[in-house]
Amino acid sequence: MMPTWLRDSRLLLHAPLFIAIWLLLSRLNVMVEPLMSYYLALAAMYATAMFGMVILVGLSGQVSLGNGALMAVGGYVFAVTSLNWQTVPLLGFQWNAVWSVIFAGFGGVVAGLIIGLLAARLRGPYLAGLTLGIAVGLPSIAARFPGILGGSQGLMLTVPYPDGGYAADVAGTAAAESDSAALDLALAGADPVPADAASGSSDMLTPSDVTGSGAPGDMLTADDVTGAGASPSAEPVPVPSASSISATPSGTVTDAGFVLEQWQASVSIAVACIAGFVALNLVRGRQGRVWKAVRDDPIAAALAGISPAASKVSAFVVSSLFAALAGAVFAQILTYVGPGAYGVALSLSLLVGVVLGGRGSLVGAVIGAVLLVGMPVVVSNLAGERGWSDQITNNLPTFLYGLLLVVVVLVAPGGVMGLLASGWRRLTTRR
């Protein structure tokens, strides 16, 4: 006898699928050059967060703009635990990065529960407004705690390397980085008044203080983040947070075996595969039907014995879990956490990715993730050919995202996956 949960979850069917995807991507990761690994890491990170968005926005029908802030929760839990804890509390095991990721996920669940309980009562614009407020307000909490959370400067991290297996210069950079992190912390500790508080003395609201980083008008594009990634001749990035982000070790790109970007990508891929597996089981299983039922007709769902409130809260908790995991991975990719990195732009780009890919589709989330990472790369290549200025190049992807968002909502609400599905239907019905 097969237990119901096993039959429902289609564990037997989905597990080999995701193991195959994981093996394929891991193989790809070591075959390509570090810059591609870096893009792979980013795309897998976006996909992880967007699996949660698919469940929340697509299946449960709650438009959330706060998932970037939930990623911040994951990122900060990851950073603070991996910087401060040597052993696992209560359990007493030796600390390592996996524990930090687990705790980040736990933090995400707690945050998602709180926000979900608030949000389940709200509809449409009220929910969007509240989550937008969370996207703006939550990261600025970090600025309030310059000590443990690094204030508005953020915290520098070292990527937790596994023992052995790395080129010597990787270790060298790591050491240099941990020095700079210590310096940063010392600075933050010595100066109780962060820069923004000092400038916030005018009677007017100072939005620039609050948004902190706000790369003007642009989303967190791969360009900002790469900075030094794999091109040693990286152009200076205009934003303070982005310049600290660009402190990603540039000396690590060597041909000696497993490089930093590949390690980051392998972590990111593993997390994305686990998240995707869980998400697919939830979406295809009973819970997925519950979410859809409540989205389509809450009254009918309630009559059928489903609690609409519980359904909405659970969607928030699951999406928050995925967001926090993605946030922890993001912290590793940037080797940095800070209010600027997890700003409103990140939340909006998650929404863009999910809408472009197809609101209710996990495959659509992957397509959206690839689009989010790919678009800036394509635009910057074009810009190189056409000789556009940085001002254009840095903002054009965001402009296109906004435009696409409108066009997709008006013309193809199902996104890329919706178009593919209707194209497929047309092909098959003609015959």
């Binding site: 926005v57 029908g61 438009v63 703009l65 608030l118 009562r121 509809r123 614009p125 009220y126 969007a128 407004g129 509240l130 937008l132 407020g133 969370i134 703006v136 307000g137 600025s140 309030r144 508005s152 962060p194 508080a197 400038s199 916030g200 009677d203 007017m204 609201l205 100072t206 939005p207 620039s208 203080d209 609050v210 948004t211 706000g214 003007p216 008008g217 642009d218 989303m219 205009p238 809450p298 009254i299 409130a309 409103v344 909006l348 929404l351 809408v355 609101r359 001002q391 903002n395 054009l396 965001t398 402009f399 995202y401 906004g402 435009l403 968002l405 409108v406 909502v409 008006l410 609400p413």
Partner: protein, 292 residues
């Protein structure tokens, strides 16, 4: 005690501008039942246009006028291109579309004018007035802000309560079908509502630009504040939006005065969350029964 009064007086000026943004949100909500999350983006864009006019002509009042016209035109464009088709779709669609407009306007502004903050001049002195041997945190510019806000609020109230146009607009928003049957051109009324909101937003943008610097993202936080004010005021009520806009400004002034500037969004977030939990339809909204 004097510092407390100083903070409060300082808060009035920012509160007036928040009130105007909240008014713009309410105008759009009243006409189309959509929260226009692109409103501050539109205001930012028209303020840049006003800035260009100011640089070219040197006249602040011409700049304000240009901002007004641009605000109305941009409001109409957004309504015609994006929102009118979206009305056929679900709520999620219209929310996402307004964010699409917001993102692309911000990126467009950054492509044209760059991301660096521009300083917008004031037509009158922006230094604290000295009355009775003491410098108060109110300048002639603040007085101008109050005056413009008051004129706008009174004009809008008169428009809605004393004119046929206002009555038609209220009818179109309240019940489009019946309004159409009584000979009101409903779509024209809705478009007028959007244009009006664009104008109010543009005024708010030009007024806030000298004190907050002008950059593609500098109004983002105002969206949260204005949304909070509009929601707490009930989204339907002009007076509510104004009252709670000014109230939000006062709260923010006290928070930033006694605490840190960075706390402002958290306090506003708490205010918003508490309001929504206690009254999911807004604190002073007409209670509408909810199914679930």
């Amino acid at each position: 005690m004097t510092t407390f009064i100083d903070y409060l007086l300082g808060g009035f000026s920012s509160g007036a501008v928040i009130a105007l943004f909240a008014l713009a949100l309410v105008l759009v909500w009243r006409s189309t039942r959509i929260v226009n999350f692109a409103q501050v983006g539109q205001a930012m864009f028209t303020t840049f246009i006003a800035f260009e006019v100011q640089q070219a002509t040197g006249s602040w009042f011409l700049a304000l006028l240009a901002g007004l016209v641009a605000g109305a035109v941009l409001g109409l464009i957004v309504y015609a291109l994006v929102l009118r088709p979206v009305q056929r779709l679900d709520t999620s669609g219209s929310i996402i579309a307004t964010f699409g407009v917001l993102i692309s306007l911000q990126a467009l502004a950054a492509m044209i004018w760059g991301g660096d903050p521009h300083s917008f001049p004031t037509p009158v002195a922006n230094e604290g007035l000295e009355i009775g041997g003491r410098i108060w945190p109110i300048s002639w510019y603040d007085v101008l802000v109050y005056a413009v806000t008051a004129v706008l609020v009174v004009a809008l109230t008169l428009l809605f309560t004393r004119t046929n146009l206002g009555l038609s607009m209220r009818a179109s928003a309240f019940n489009p079908e019946v309004a159409k049957l009584s000979g009101i051109r409903v779509n024209r009324m809705l478009a007028f509502g959007w244009a009006l909101a664009g104008v109010v937003g543009a005024v708010a943008g030009v007024l806030i630009a000298p004190t907050a610097s002008l950059s593609p993202n500098s109004f983002d936080i105002l969206l949260i504040f204005a949304f909070t004010a509009a929601v707490v005021g009930g989204l339907d009520s002009l007076i509510g939006a104004v009252a709670f806009g000014i109230g939000t400004g006062l709260v923010l002034a006290l928070v930033t005065g006694y605490g840190e500037a960075g706390d402002a969004p958290i306090i506003v977030l708490i205010l918003l969350a508490v309001t929504l939990v206690v009254r999911p339809g807004g604190a002073f909204g007409r209670g509408k029964s909810r199914a679930v």
